[in-house]
């Protein structure tokens, strides 16, 4: 098995990895904000429910969540899941929204009440204050924790192989069971490069947001 063949196969797996990553980010970033508002809601039942949801999702392994999302519908309701990738994305989006929601909550609660009051004094509505004054400050503050979580996601995508989705590690492991070990370490370089790109991206973003320093 030549270096080139291995690279091609790993590249194929890497595309699946990126696919899971991008879909998860696109959906869990907004969903996390919704969950964050839910858990900060003044309406008690809603906030208790949301916090229980966050507790369950953060309190159980993502691997287990993937298995449940994929296998449970068939076993309990006799409607087998059609799409492996679909199940993976659903499980990842749910999981990451829970984590993101807590980061958002921390960010939102870190903004002093004075700013809201000042906005009101100037005659702005509540939503105007939030979107025009508060939001970007929050983004600036939560960026480091966000980059942490996002980079964790890059590596968590490897859990998709538990329901036989052909992501990067799975492709590498197929070589290992053929008696070739180095593709597994080679796969590590793909992750490393990807998270390197993300690190640079987040660094750049942080600089751009310096204006909003509180």
């Amino acid at each position: 098995m030549s270096f080139w063949n291995v690279t091609l196969s790993l590249w194929e797996g890497f595309q699946t990895t990126i696919f899971i990553f991008v879909l998860t980010i696109l959906m869990s970033l907004p969903l996390g904000l919704v969950v964050a508002f839910g858990s900060m809601s003044k309406f008690k039942p809603l906030s208790i429910l949301t916090r229980a949801f966050v507790w369950i999702i953060r309190g159980t392994p993502l691997m287990l969540q993937i298995i449940i999302v994929f296998y449970m519908p068939g076993m309990l309701f006799n409607i087998p899941s059609e799409s492996r990738m679909g199940a993976v994305v659903v499980a990842f989006v749910i999981n990451y929204s829970a984590y993101f929601s807590e980061i958002y909550r921390g960010g939102i609660e870190s903004i002093s009440k004075g700013q809201y009051e000042a906005g009101q004094v100037l005659g702005m509505t509540k939503s105007q204050v939030f979107f025009k004054v508060i939001l970007m400050q929050i983004v600036k503050r939560i960026l480091p924790s966000m980059s942490n979580e996002v980079i964790t996601l890059v590596k968590d995508t490897s859990l998709a192989r538990i329901i036989a989705v052909g992501e990067l590690i799975r492709h590498a492991q197929d070589f290992v069971s053929d008696g070739l070990i180095w593709p597994l370490f080679y796969a590590g370089i793909f992750y490393l490069l990807f998270s390197g790109v993300l690190t640079i991206l987040f660094g750049w973003l942080e600089k751009r947001l310096n204006y909003y320093k509180g």
Binding site: F70, M72, A164, D174
Partner: protein, 271 residues
């Protein structure tokens, strides 16, 4: 600064020496290595009825007891280590384990990488489906249009890929044979191709898989189980094979097989 360089070069020199020693010992005869350590590290995965934990959490199973008996004959201690089936080759080559003793199927391809003991159990691959859908899957032709699943690189997978009619079927490989059963149970796949010995033991009454069944009269590629050792370890092979023969003659092997309901599957020359 100079001191650091010196220390570093000394360190590397030492490292080289250690590495070259390691290289030497790995070329030494395998048996000598095992005998010197007075133990054989046996790699297994949980696989009923070969290696599994009983109600008290003790590792039992046909292969477990068989390995213990062989090691007793050889006056060494067996040490059981749970491995990841995907990386078994690496584990063995890197001497993390000394043997793969886990219902290990002999194939031509594997013979290039492992030294095999005498085959001790004859197994076959069977198709497992949901009981309620038994009528849909009676012949090979039925299977060809179904969603198939098997363990990655398992004998079940080769049975599918080696079959003229099945090789183009919709197939997905999973990490473990039990995952294949889970796929069928949840309906995400229609048919699992797994070992007969395992199917018989997993689908029994009281198991969560008792709503599954083996398709009658449909046998895919019979196979043989043997113990896998590092390539080029003739003395180890010789010793283990002799011990197996002694156990067969004394009737001990038959006893263990009967205990795990494998009496019929035992290789003919060892019965």
């Amino acid at each position: 600064m100079k001191k650091t360089t010196k220390a570093l070069s000394l360190f590397f020199a030492l490292l080289m020496v250690v590495l070259s020693f390691a290289a030497c010992s790995s070329s030494k005869e395998d048996w000598e290595y095992i005998e010197n350590r007075k133990k054989m590290v046996i790699g297994y995965t949980l696989f009923q009825p070969m290696n599994y934990k009983d109600d008290d959490g003790k590792l039992v199973g046909f292969d477990t007891e068989f390995a213990e008996a062989v090691c007793a004959e050889l006056a060494i201690t067996p040490e059981f280590v749970q491995i990841n089936w995907d990386t078994k080759t690496t584990e063995l080559k890197s001497k993390k384990i000394d043997a793969i003793w886990n219902g290990f199927t002999v194939t031509e391809e594997r013979k290039k990488e492992f030294d095999f003991s005498v085959p001790y159990v004859v197994n076959k691959q069977v198709a497992v489906v949901k009981k309620e859908r038994a009528d849909e899957f009676k012949t090979i032709e039925n299977l060809a249009t179904a969603k198939l699943t098997a363990e990655t690189k398992s004998a079940g997978e080769s049975a599918i890929q080696g079959d003229e009619k099945l090789k183009d079927a919709d197939y997905i490989s999973v990490e473990f044979q039990t995952d294949a059963l889970l796929e069928v149970k949840s309906g995400t796949s229609d048919v699992a191709v797994i070992d007969y010995t395992m199917a018989k033991s997993m689908l029994s009454e009281g198991s969560d898989y008792s709503d599954l069944m083996i398709v009658e009269g449909l046998e895919l590629s019979p196979e043989e189980y043997a113990v896998g050792f590092r390539k080029d370890s003739p003395v180890t092979l010789e010793k283990v094979n002799a011990a197996i023969e002694t156990l067969a003659e004394s009737g001990k092997l038959g006893e263990i097989a009967a205990k795990y309901n494998l009496g019929e599957e035992l290789a003919d020359n060892l019965k």
